[in-house]
């Protein structure tokens, strides 16, 4: 038996994130690089540590290798603890056979023993899909104060966008009276952020019931939460204000990166009281040469810049040769943009090479209507000399024969 924990977190990191296309071909969505030195999962992990939650189970399933390797023993987030710490929880073989995680609720169900070991009063269920800074301790106080069975973090979104989200109709006292999943005509603009705190005793019971239910998809949003609500459990909405972005699509991933270089950035990563931790590479400082022009850009260590970079985010160890131009783009670690190549409105994944004179992506004004979009170059891809890759393309690694 481990020492008793008041609240532990379970982080759902098994999603494929198929809408990110080739970016998630070999890695799970939470491992996708973000913001010059981070990966998406750094945000919920850092939030946990900053909120005083020191026991975190990370549920992985889809392409877990890179994610498992990245999390390691949890040292970058101060989660290498002798009591608690971070634990990778992958599906495992049991007497009845091996079962994949059938849904988000089933993933937690299969790890009831892990949670019980810490004997927590409360369990936070988080997802590894969002960029935000949030104090889960405040939400926990709210949950306790309201004596709720389940508290759901809620964000007021633009009415025009509301139909993209799972919405909640909330009474004045904070209790949730109704749920609407992506309705065509929203009656509320209060969206669920996919951050839940449950009273563990209650959740445990509903997970077991849900598992026994014939035909359940074993999903929190579709099955467990509606079941708790129908049974009359107290469900409350915790109002969150601040920056929160789902980065589940190429456009939203690109946009959220660009938010970081906007002078009106709503998210401050440089806040010493709420640091976002990440595993840092060992690289020398970046070098900006005589010939370079760098403006409105975020650049990580180890980069060597001799070209022009504007409105972009460059991860560690990126090389931009003389005469190359990068605009409105995201270049992930280790990629090389050679002489006179032009990269615009693109996401270049890790260790790609853009050969001399190649042109990747385009400005919206240079495209036929409806033809414009972000271009994505996959991991380890080489774009040949003088090759032109049009807007909205997605170039992956060639399959080995």
């Amino acid at each position: 038996m481990a020492r008793k924990n008041e609240c532990i977190a379970m982080l759902l990191a098994g999603g494929q994130g198929s809408r990110l296309g080739i970016l998630t071909k070999k890695i799970a969505k939470p491992a996708v690089p973000f913001g010059g030195k981070y990966r998406i999962i750094d945000f919920p992990l850092s939030n946990c540590v900053n909120s005083g939650i020191h026991t975190v189970g990370v549920l992985t399933q889809y392409q877990p290798l890179e994610l498992n390797d990245y999390i390691g023993n949890g040292e970058p987030w101060d989660l290498d603890r002798s009591d608690g710490g971070v634990h990778i929880l992958s599906p495992y073989q049991q007497i009845e056979g091996t079962e994949w995680y059938k849904g988000t609720a089933n993933a937690i169900y299969q790890n009831i023993n892990f949670i019980d070991k810490y004997d927590p009063e409360y369990v936070a269920i988080l997802s590894g899909d969002h960029i935000y800074k949030m104090d889960y301790a405040e939400m926990l106080s709210f949950h306790k104060e309201k004596e709720a069975a389940c508290t759901i973090a809620m964000l007021e979104v633009d009415w025009a966008e509301a139909s993209r989200f799972g919405l909640m109709i909330v009474n004045d006292d904070g209790t949730i009276s109704e749920f609407e999943e992506k309705p065509a005509n929203p009656r509320s603009n209060k969206a669920s952020m996919g951050v839940y705190i449950f009273t563990w005793k209650k959740l445990r019971q509903y997970l077991i019931e849900d598992e026994a239910k014939e035909g359940s998809s074993n999903d929190f949003g579709k099955d467990v939460i509606p079941a708790m609500h129908a049974a009359g459990e107290k469900m409350v909405a915790f109002p969150f204000k601040g920056y929160w972005r789902d980065v589940g699509t190429i456009d939203s991933l690109w946009m959220a990166n660009m938010d970081l270089i906007s002078p009106e950035a709503e998210i401050d990563l440089d806040d010493p009281t709420w640091k976002i931790y990440a595993k840092s590479p060992s690289a020398p400082p970046q070098y900006i040469s005589d010939k370079a022009h760098v403006q409105n850009t975020l650049i990580a260590e180890g980069c060597e810049i001799e070209g022009d970079v504007n409105f972009s985010v460059l991860f560690a160890n990126v090389i931009v040769e003389e005469g190359a131009k990068i605009r409105d783009s995201i270049i992930m670690p280790g990629s090389v943009v050679k002489k006179n190549a032009v990269v615009q409105y693109s996401i270049i994944a890790e260790n790609a090479i853009i050969e001399e004179g190649a042109k990747v992506g385009a400005c919206e004004k240079d495209c036929e209507p409806g033809q414009w979009g972000i271009t994505v170059i996959g991991e380890n891809v080489t774009v040949a000399k003088d090759e032109v890759v049009p807007a909205k393309s997605m170039i992956g690694e060639k399959e080995e024969a």
């Binding site: 002078p263 060992s282 400082p285």
Partner: protein, 375 residues
């Protein structure tokens, strides 16, 4: 000789009275910041680990708080081990003995227990006022091939201004035939001088140190090395690659500015011999809409909205709008406010230059702004 059979001993202190002035008044030579994100000790520590050495002792004397803060448990170098790893060796006193680390010889004498209990057969001694990225495996090979008793890394060039610096006459076979010990006044002479990286059998070091102390000797260079030139085979291993001796603020300044040369960077930051340092979790550097940066090294956490040329900026430096920084070294946390301009300035950590100031030194005599001060 396998690298795991070599014990590393790093002297965090400068024993010579001549050093880097104010830079070392608040910290050990080992914790002097260098190259945008490093401390001097990162270089010998990383080299030792890269070569495969597993046990390193760091000898400290005074003002080593910043050093301990930097190296921590040795984690960045993977030296936080159950078996062996990194050890800080400060002076201590017991009821029977009062150790002192006032000289290289006395400190080596006082760590005799540590030497004895380490399982390694060889010892590699280094200082921390020198900068290099050497493949120590090659040095070990050289030592074995020459059947050397003591191997000392040296450089040919103008001698730095260091007291008790050993100067060598080296034969074609790399055997050291003559040693003189400088008093500092010969600085600038063109000759072979010691880089104070010294390899020998542990038992030999223990014996030499013990007998020197027994004879009331005080100088490591004179009484341990020079005195035994005739009886021992002492070889010189020439240093190659980028290297520097920090003997003054000027040489410190030059060693930083020299990193702007891509050839030097390639030599010092060879990806096959990575230099590791403490992780600080800074955000990537941000270049604002009016940023103008040329020929400069910029570390994480910097926010640049002004002009920066030919300079080295450490972590978290802020250069505000209209500020101009040229030929300068700005350490961690420095703030250069609006419309101030700097030329040939070294700022120590967390220095603040308020708006509309004009500070200028000369490349041969850089202006130094001390730690936490406001101009």
């Amino acid at each position: 000789m396998r690298a795991s059979e070599v014990l590393g001993i790093i002297h965090a202190q400068n024993y010579s009275s001549l050093s880097q002035g104010e830079l070392t008044s608040v910290r050990t030579a080992a914790s002097v910041p260098y190259g945008g994100r490093y401390r001097m000790i990162d270089f010998p520590l990383s080299d030792m680990v890269n070569a495969g050495m597993t046990q390193v002792g760091i000898i400290t004397n005074t003002s080593f708080q910043s050093l301990v803060d930097h190296v921590g448990s040795g984690r960045p170098w993977d030296l936080d081990r159950k078996r062996e790893g990194m050890f800080i060796l400060p002076p201590y006193n017991t009821s029977s003995a009062l150790t002192n680390h006032d000289s290289k010889l006395s400190s080596l004498y006082s760590i005799s227990d540590f030497l004895k209990k380490s399982r390694q057969d060889y010892v590699l001694l280094t200082d921390t006022n020198t900068l290099y990225n050497i493949d120590f495996k090659d040095l070990f090979k050289f030592h074995t091939e020459k059947n050397s008793d003591i191997t000392i890394v040296y450089k040919h060039g103008r001698t730095p201004n260091i007291q008790d610096l050993m100067l060598f006459a080296v034969g074609d076979d790399k055997r050291i035939n003559e040693i003189s010990v400088s008093s500092g006044s010969e600085a600038g002479m063109e000759t072979n001088y010691s880089f104070n990286i010294i390899l020998m059998r542990k038992s030999l070091l223990e014996y030499l140190v013990r007998s020197a102390v027994a004879h009331n000797a005080t100088s490591f260079e004179r009484d341990v090395i020079q005195a035994n030139l005739q009886t021992l085979k002492i070889y010189g291993y020439p240093i190659t690659g980028f290297s520097a001796y920090m003997d003054s603020l000027r040489s410190y300044y030059k060693a930083n500015i020299d990193l702007l040369n891509p050839e030097n960077r390639k030599l010092l930051f060879d990806p096959a011999k990575p230099v590791d340092t403490k992780i600080c979790d800074n955000v990537p550097a941000m270049y604002g809409i009016d940023a103008e940066v040329k020929n400069s090294l910029i570390a994480d956490g910097c926010v640049i909205e002004g002009t920066v040329e030919n300079s080295v900026l450490f972590r978290d430096v802020k250069v505000q709008k209209g500020a101009v920084v040229r030929n300068s070294i700005l350490m961690q946390g420095t703030v250069i406010s609006t419309n101030s301009s700097l030329n040939a300035v070294i700022t120590d950590k967390n220095a603040v230059v308020t708006p509309n100031k004009n500070l200028s030194g000369d490349e041969s005599y850089p202006l130094f702004i001390s730690k936490n001060s406001t101009v």
